[in-house]
Amino acid sequence: MTTQLTAGAPSTPGAWRTSRSRGLAVACAVAAALAAAWPWAAGQFVLHLAILACINIVIVNGLSLIDRCGQLSFGHSAPVALGAYGSVLFSSALGVGTVTAAALSLVAGALVAGVLGWVILRLRGVYFVLVTFAFAELVRLVLLDAGSITGGANGIAGIPPLSIGGFAFDTRERFYALALALAIASVGFMVWLFSRPLGRAMTAVAANPALAESTGLSVLRLQIVAYIAGSVLASVGGVLTARYIGFISPESFATGASVAFITMLVIGGRKSLYGPMLGALVLTPLPEFFRGAVQTQHIFYGAALILILRFLPGGIAGVLNIKAAWRSAK
């Protein structure tokens, strides 16, 4: 947390700054731990929102990973759907445990992403966007159509909860622990990855693909890796969704979902590694403020997207950076 928040600070020599930023780090960590623990004390409704937010954090981190390698997927709901349906269908078809089924669906998702990515990542920018959008629609159509396997428009209900060796994640309190752990792990993974050569190679590809290619980095191969990893993260989110809500249908994975993920990424901040987390945290509970006025909520989303891109391209993370830098400069 520290490095990101004080990254914008001007360099001021002196021990006072180090102890100040260390103090800030400790304060942030304590605050974050308290905030993360709060839902357990705040009741079922808050737990519910917290779980959904954590699932979204994992999914949007996956989208961010793909974006940070230079391509933005406008069909991120597809791997989420594949993870959700995959884990449910594998366990009912093969009679395996929920975790094994989840693992199988992730492997299957990675394979699909690999093959698809190999074809479509040759396209740049606009064409890639169109194709990912079309592919997500296609997945939705297949799910609707293959009624005998997928339940069609009615979806699949009564999905049993995740259980590891008899321990079932069947209460919100337990599930939140799992979701929280995975959300934190996904953020940690992103921070770790982008400090490694692989992550830095992806950053280079995103910044200037032609130049990166000329320095011996294969844009296609790196983007395929990012696409597979990002899709697997999304599929994890899909598995969690299925096992938490207990019901899935093609409509939960329609274009609206892809748009929601992009909105979270953009509003959270595309440049920051913490953007996805911030976007998911802010936008997941938002429907509650609009209590039923769905149209107003969506108009707000649309307006927020436009205004943020226009005036605050760094998103919420960008705003936080400015505040932290200003504070340190005083």
Partner: protein, 260 residues
């Protein structure tokens, strides 16, 4: 080890009906500095793009140290040891000079994912040597003072030098340079000439230049290939080229210009 480091054999590139490069053949020996000259639109940059993998050739072969690299992706050709610089400056504008060079080193880091992904086998670096390698390259191009400056804010001449540094960071056996002197002033040109000589003599690099700046070409190139309308019309030492009437007529113009 093949006799020549680079062999271009019958290279042709057609765009629809237009033949930008027609049946181009020449060789470059290890440690040579060869110049590729010709009037604008002669197909020099297209030839470069085809050799370096940016464009697939319509016909012909390109061999690097005996290995066929025809039509391979640019990153794969770089991994094989052939790097290039660009006519217009291209850098990772928002990153510092040092980070720019680091990016170019990534596929050389032993055991790293980029290295394994690119299956690079030569010129590998141990992770702890990355920083010193960056310093070494900065020293070669004499840019240590600008190490922490964002690349996009550099003056034009420095950006071009950074482009060369980025090319060097891939530890190539051979460097293709697309108009390295374009836009440089007199002092910068002298520095460029010194740098090119240093690269050849001290670092054993083989160079192929596309250049319009005749003084530099005549001074530093050991051999010159002349391209007009996509075809090679002459090849030889600077003296031979200067004296060649076809070349003079097509490109060099009056004799005293050629001696500039």
């Amino acid at each position: 080890m093949s006799a020549f480091l680079l062999e271009v054999d019958g290279l042709s590139k057609h765009f629809g009906g237009l033949a930008a490069v027609k049946d181009l053949s020449f060789q470059v020996s290890r440690g040579e500095i060869v110049g590729l000259i010709g009037p604008n639109g002669a197909g020099k940059t297209t030839a470069f793009n085809t050799i370096s993998g940016v464009l697939p050739p319509t016909q012909g072969r390109v061999l690097l140290d005996g290995r066929d690299i025809t039509g391979r992706r640019p990153s794969s050709i770089v991994s094989a040891g052939l790097a290039r610089t660009f006519q217009s400056t291209t850098t990772f504008a928002e990153e510092t000079v040092a980070t720019n060079i680091e990016h170019a080193l990534l596929s050389r880091i032993k055991g790293s994912a980029p290295q394994r992904l690119m299956r690079r086998t030569h010129g590998l670096l141990v992770p702890s040597d990355v920083a010193s390698e960056v310093d070494r390259i900065l020293e070669i191009v004499n840019m240590q003072a600008w190490r922490d400056v964002p690349a996009g804010t550099l003056a034009y001449g420095l950006q071009k030098k950074l482009g060369i540094a980025i090319g060097l960071a891939t530890k190539p056996a051979m460097l293709l340079m697309d108009e390295p002197a374009a836009g440089l002033n007199h002092e910068e040109c002298n520095e460029l000439t010194r740098l090119l000589r240093k690269l050849q003599k001290e670092y054993g690099l083989t160079l192929l230049l596309v250049e319009h700046h005749m003084a530099i070409v005549m001074e530093i190139c050991e051999r010159i290939v002349v391209l007009v309308h996509g075809e090679k019309i002459a090849e030889g030492s600077p003296a031979q080229i200067r004296a060649n009437p076809a070349v003079v007529q097509a490109y060099l113009g009056a004799p005293d210009y050629a001696h500039a």
